[in-house]
């Protein structure tokens, strides 16, 4: 089966600067894949190479199983580095022009305008649009071809909180409908909410890839119990000293959350007052910064 996105050894150099290095990226059919990285990490350059806007220095790209060449973007929709349209045309006329290039019928224009909730203002000139409206028109343009693969570069940029929520809903809906979505972002919460898998890029290299849960690593437990000294001693005796850390007046345990009831019974049975016992997950933001730091150190 053809993978929607597959790159091998993808590299882009600008003179002495390596923007993307030996990138092997795989996006599976039907998944929403988050492409995470700080500004300047190489996300947009990678997406531009996928779409043929930038020529790789080395490596190969296949979209929907097709190599570069005529027709490679059939079934692929994209919004790269912010929306860009003709300011003297209305939103609707901009999409009609794009529909001509794409070879799709004018009926798709009305449909995608409705999808991004822009029908009421579609007759206004693009120059008068707010940033959020421009962004939504950009997404509408990306959806014109009813794509099987949608590549979105920072799609919630410029949107207000309600617009961001709508965009996330739209992406999830497209994913649920079988459309493969590759979405780049530096907003961790956004990626966490909508993505099945995540790739983290830093310094042009893919430094981690997996589900959000996999990236977070093993979950644990946090316990607040009195008296603390006895709780520490008892817990270390129960699960092993190496699995227990004292943090901020409580205990952090490297223990599966489904052992919480057992632990509670043991601690209460030992006469300890358990005030709080809850699953503890690594904060994705912390995971991200750890990865970036590690990636930077590896490159150095």
């Amino acid at each position: 089966m053809n993978l929607p996105v597959q790159t091998e050894g993808l590299t882009k150099r600008y003179g002495g600067l390596t923007a993307v290095q030996d990138l092997n990226l795989t996006v599976r059919a039907g998944e929403v894949y988050g492409f995470l990285g700080p500004n300047g990490a190489g996300k947009t350059t990678t997406l531009r190479m996928l779409l043929g806007l930038v020529r790789p220095t080395a490596g190969t790209v296949r979209l929907l199983g097709r190599p570069p060449g005529a027709g490679r973007l059939t079934g692929v929709g994209a919004l790269i580095e912010g929306p860009a349209f003709y300011p003297y045309l209305s939103g609707r006329d901009n999409l009609r022009v794009l529909a001509r290039y794409a070879g799709v019928g004018a009926d798709r224009v009305a449909l995608v305008l409705d999808l991004v909730d822009l029908t009421d203002r579609a007759g206004d000139r693009y120059a008068g649009y707010s940033l959020g409206m421009k962004q939504r028109l950009g997404v509408a343009g990306a959806l014109l071809k009813d794509p099987r693969l949608l590549i979105l570069d920072e799609p919630t940029n410029g949107l207000d909180p309600a617009g961001m929520a709508d965009m996330r809903t739209l992406i999830r809906r497209l994913g649920a409908a079988g459309c493969t979505v590759l979405v780049s972002s530096h907003l961790l919460g956004e990626v966490e909410q909508i993505c099945d898998r995540v790739g983290v890029i830093s310094g042009g290299r893919l430094i981690a890839e997996g589900t959000v849960a996999e990236l977070r690593g093993t979950a644990g437990l946090r316990v607040l119990a009195d008296p603390l000294d006895e709780a520490v001693a008892r817990t270390r005796a129960l699960v092993g000293a190496e699995r227990v850390r004292v943090v901020d007046g409580g205990l952090e345990l490297a223990l599966a959350p489904d052992r919480a009831a057992w632990l509670n019974t043991e601690l209460v049975g030992a006469g300890l007052a358990v005030r709080e016992l809850r699953p503890r997950e690594r904060d994705l933001e912390q995971v991200f910064f750890d990865l970036i730091e590690k990636g930077t150190a590896d490159v150095a």
């Binding site: 531009r48 059939t74 790269i80 912010g82 860009a84 794009l98 290039y101």
Partner: protein, 273 residues
């Protein structure tokens, strides 16, 4: 290709700047080819344009009068149109928007060039039409007979005008691709057409033989020679029979093709920023 052409024509026709440029073209053609010379003749003043006599403003001189502006000042406006049509995609960063819809770079570029060629024809036809009306009005006002050029001359003139205008449009297009912008290509194009060409012709060529020889291979003097061969007034800036009409037509056509090809090669090879 036809999809790209249609999209480009829509953009060109709906763009206010296109109509503004057409209006300026027609106003310049009308004012400098008919209005000022006629005002001079009607007022009986001896202006510097002493070659322009009443018979030269009548309909049978329509071809030459319509072509006279194309080697320099009307050509400069068509060059601006070429820059705007191609360079606008850089200015608004819309190359990525267009190309991610699926057409190849060369498809889009070819659509643009064909749209420019159509626009150049429309400009030339409009200049001829405005000239026809103006010359008829002068003939009626001066009680002169109205004699039109033959159909063959008219078609040859329109063809030559289209060739010259399209060449300048292609120069605008290639400058826009090469410099990936709008302002700088317009500036450089106008400096070349309005300043450098005139300096070469008026100052350098009379002093240096090799410059005079080199002029015979440059686009401006060949456009001027083609216009001159078809009756454009010799006192119009840029109009001079430096080479024969046939040779001029071939060289103008060669420049047209070369500008278009170089732009295509550059666009195909470079990254879209």
């Amino acid at each position: 290709m036809s999809r790209s052409l249609h999209a480009e024509l829509v953009k060109l026709v709906r763009r206010p700047a296109s109509w503004l440029l057409l209006a300026i073209t027609l106003a310049l053609a009308l004012i400098f080819t008919y209005l000022f010379p006629y005002a001079s003749i009607a007022g009986g003043t001896d202006g510097p344009n002493t070659d322009r006599t009443l018979p030269m403003l009548l309909p049978d001189h329509l071809v030459g009068n319509s072509l006279g502006g194309l080697p320099v000042f009307l050509g400069a406006i068509v060059l601006i149109l070429g820059v705007l049509t191609v360079g606008g995609e850089y200015g608004w960063a819309t190359w990525k928007t267009v190309l991610t819809q699926g057409p190849s770079r060369l498809e889009v570029y070819a659509g643009k060039l064909l749209a420019l060629a159509a626009a150049a024809l429309a400009v030339v036809l409009a200049v001829f039409a405005v000239g026809a009306v103006a010359s008829v009005l002068i003939a009626v006002a001066e009680s002169q007979p109205v004699h039109w050029p033959g159909l063959g001359d008219l078609l040859t003139g329109i063809g030559a005008g289209w060739l010259i205008a399209t060449m300048w449009a292609m120069l605008g297009a290639v400058l826009a691709v090469a410099l990936r912008a709008v302002a700088l290509p317009v500036g450089l194009g106008l400096v070349w057409m309005l300043a450098v060409q005139n300096l070469l012709a008026a100052i350098a060529a009379p002093l240096l033989d090799w410059v005079a020889q080199a002029q015979k291979g440059l686009p401006g003097p060949n456009a001027g020679s083609l216009a001159a061969a078809l009756g454009a007034p010799g006192d119009t800036p840029g109009v001079a029979a430096t080479v024969g009409g046939g040779q001029a037509a071939v060289i103008v056509a060669a420049y047209l093709v070369a500008f278009a090809a170089v732009g295509g090669v550059l666009l195909r090879r470079r990254d879209i920023g």
